[in-house]
Symmetry: C2
Subunit: 124 residues, 2 copies
């Protein structure tokens, strides 16, 4: 036994998945980075990198997909709350469509994989 599949080489979420994920969360209501950071785990991003999230939000701000404003807090540092723009909503729909294509492709993968395994090991 030389090497069983290690935990290395893990499959990740789709490329550029962070944007549609953030847009979806913001579509459900305005929020700020730190809160979005926690909600992202429910969408498949395990322990997302804060720096990445904040950068993505700022980038979408500059692209006009979201707009932000500072909200002072009495219980801690100020928050930059983000809200979805109409253009951002358009992007949300478009990106959700792209994700649906990816999902369909993964479905065909799994159907093909299961067909392989079921006819490979009919015994047992």
């Amino acid at each position: 036994m030389s090497g069983e599949p290690a935990a290395e080489f893990q499959i990740g979420m789709p490329r550029n998945y962070l944007r549609p994920a953030l847009l979806l969360l913001l579509g459900e209501g305005t929020s700020h980075g730190y809160e979005l950071l926690e909600q992202l785990t429910a969408l498949g991003l395990d322990r997302p990198d804060p720096g990445r999230v904040y950068r993505s939000l700022r980038a979408m701000d500059e692209d006009g997909l979201v707009r932000s404003e500072w909200t002072p807090s009495t219980t801690g540092p100020a928050r930059r709350t983000y809200a979805l723009t109409s253009e951002g909503r358009d992007w949300l729909h478009a990106l959700a469509g792209s994700l649906a294509e990816v999902s369909r492709a993964l479905g065909s993968y799994q159907r093909r994989y299961q067909r392989l395994t079921t006819q490979d090991e009919p015994v047992r």
Copy 2:
């Protein structure tokens, strides 16, 4: 209406998707790079980069997931035919499992997205 989502910023397949895709195809039978290149489109990779595919195959060869041997051809250049090893089969199962997780995450995304759109626009 200021800006509709451009074709840019397309969502891609999951990170490291190429390996499980190739392993699945090789699980169905031995093949060579050029043929795999064409079959990959059926698994969601649209016009995959040949260089990437060949590199990935060589890498998996060095990792022991596949083994290769030259097969002369009378109708063209020689082919390097790849066959799945037992270790490669183990990896196939493991990676298919990881892909299933990704698929589940995307499913939750879409359910949440549709819930948003249906309650956002109940009219029609």
